[in-house]
């Protein structure tokens, strides 16, 4: 199972608490994880990536294993620790001041 940590607003929208665990068939990439996440929680469509272009929304980042994966190819495999379920993929909202 792939573990995904969502920001609070998306947890509320998806009506989940804590981490989400989802089955993802290989290869485990940003794209396949988000495909599986959106299939299970359709209300998240469009909130993490654009529904047409599939581009990551500008104020969101993807972290895992203390690395920022946001600028990596959406088709690159995620770190082995994430694939093995030992570490979560973090969807993180940009900081906002004011």
């Amino acid at each position: 199972m792939i573990r995904v940590q969502l920001p609070q607003h998306l947890r509320l929208l998806a009506q989940v608490t804590g981490e989400v665990a989802i089955e993802v068939a290989a290869p485990v990439t940003q794209r396949t994880v988000l495909d599986a996440l959106e299939a299970r929680y359709p209300m998240l469509r469009g909130t993490i990536r654009d529904q047409v272009t599939a581009h990551r929304r500008a104020f969101l980042r993807f972290y895992a294993c203390k690395r920022d994966l946001s600028l990596e190819s959406p088709d690159a495999e995620l770190p082995e620790e994430v694939i093995a379920g030992r570490e979560p993929l973090l969807v993180v909202g940009a900081l906002a001041g004011g």
């Binding site: 920001p7 607003h9 929208l13 469009g46 909130t47 993490i48 529904q51 969101l60």
Partner: protein, 371 residues
């Protein structure tokens, strides 16, 4: 027992305010969708328990919510707003072509006859419609396809389609307004459109009488007299007596004819309300006095309504969708401010009182009159 339900959209969530017909004792419910911008909520005239809400923010984009129990609970609906065909370009602030990009839904207008049909006005300016209760949305692309579309240009607040008025007497007739393109009318349920801006004069554009390019802020229509329209333009209060074909100015003796909302008394089609704002660069009331102005003559002659409103040191704004009226026998008038107050007058504007004082900045106010 009759009463009212006030739907308030704010910069940080939605609030639902309810009262009996006395409109003195209020229950405040919220925030719903805390932390999100709620540009607009509106109930279906067919089924008052059906409420649609536009929820958005910069992080997570656009979400559409729907309640089927009068706002007690909501469920997310479809949020895929895709321009039909090649989106094309409009003009950017610097006059260069800029591709159409969906940003958010400004206004939701439920059909007068079908609870599952809703029209959505969006930024960048376009009109969408759902016929399945919000699950899917299709663009009414005839609006952008109007020949002037490539010349539309955003105002400072973005290029938004913010006003949708449905004519109850002429099926298929729809009025919309876009900042800063102007007003448009469709007579075939949104398939084709034409600009209706003759008579508008805007000193801020190169040709003050241009067919498009006017910054219309709001249009109001009384359902019993659908050919008469009132408009709050960037500057100027305007009136049309022929369905928007021609407009004339009725600003009269207002202290400032800049402002955002305009609305009409539920039982008196010639009684209209505006909230004058000092100027387009000073978005607060003249002299720091929050005054609603009422005309009982369809414009030109205006009286200030001040009883219960702050008359010193008040520097809030009232946004275009933040005024509404109820349909009780003694018509109630409501408006919300960027300072977080929502005011009610249960007697057509003679006396005012705050329902709430400390909400986030109010973006929209709608009222449902409940049997």
């Amino acid at each position: 027992m009759s009463g009212v339900r006030v739907l308030v959209g704010t910069r940080k969530g939605a609030f639902i305010l309810t009262s009996d017909a006395g409109r003195k004792d209020w229950q405040v419910d919220g925030p719903h969708f805390g932390g999100w911008e709620i540009y607009h909520l509106k109930g279906s005239p067919v089924d008052p328990n059906r409420i649609y809400a536009s929820q958005s923010n910069a992080w997570f984009g656009q979400v559409i919510q729907r309640s089927d129990d009068g706002g007690k609970t909501f469920n997310p609906m479809g949020n895929k707003f895709v321009y039909e065909g090649l989106p094309g370009t409009h003009l950017w602030y610097d006059g260069t072509p800029h591709p159409w990009e969906f940003k958010r839904v400004w206004h939701l207008e439920p059909s007068l006859t079908d609870a599952d049909t809703v029209y959505a006005g969006v930024e960048d300016a376009a009109m969408f419609r759902t016929t399945d209760g919000g699950q899917s949305w299709q663009e009414l692309s005839g609006l952008r396809a109007h020949g002037s579309g490539k010349y539309w240009q955003p105002g400072a607040g973005g290029m938004c389609l913010h006003t949708i008025v449905l004519d109850p007497h002429h099926p298929g007739r729809i009025y919309i307004a876009i900042s800063a393109a102007g007003a448009f009318r469709s007579d075939d349920d949104g398939a084709t459109w034409r600009p209706i801006n003759r008579g508008l004069k805007s000193g801020q554009i190169p040709d003050p009488d241009a067919e498009v390019g006017h910054c219309v802020h709001r249009i109001a229509m009384h359902p019993q007299r659908p050919n008469v329209l009132f408009m709050q333009k960037h500057w100027d209060i305007m009136r049309s007596d022929n369905g928007g074909d021609d407009w004339s100015e009725v600003s009269g003796n207002l202290p400032s004819d800049f402002g955002f909302p305009i609305d009409i008394h539920a039982h008196e089609p010639d009684t209209i309300y505006v909230v004058p704002i000092k100027s387009d660069s000073e978005h607060y009331p003249p002299e720091g006095k929050l005054r609603v102005y009422r005309s009982r003559t369809g414009g030109n002659d205006w009286e200030p309504l001040t009883n219960g409103l702050p008359q010193a040191n008040c520097y809030v704004n009232v946004l275009r969708d933040a005024m509404a009226v109820d349909r009780l026998d003694s018509c109630g008038i409501y408006f919300g401010t960027t300072g977080g107050q929502v005011y009610v007058s249960p007697d057509s504007g003679d006396h005012w009182a705050p329902i709430v004082r400390d909400l986030p900045p109010v973006v929209s106010v709608e009222v449902q009159t409940l049997a």
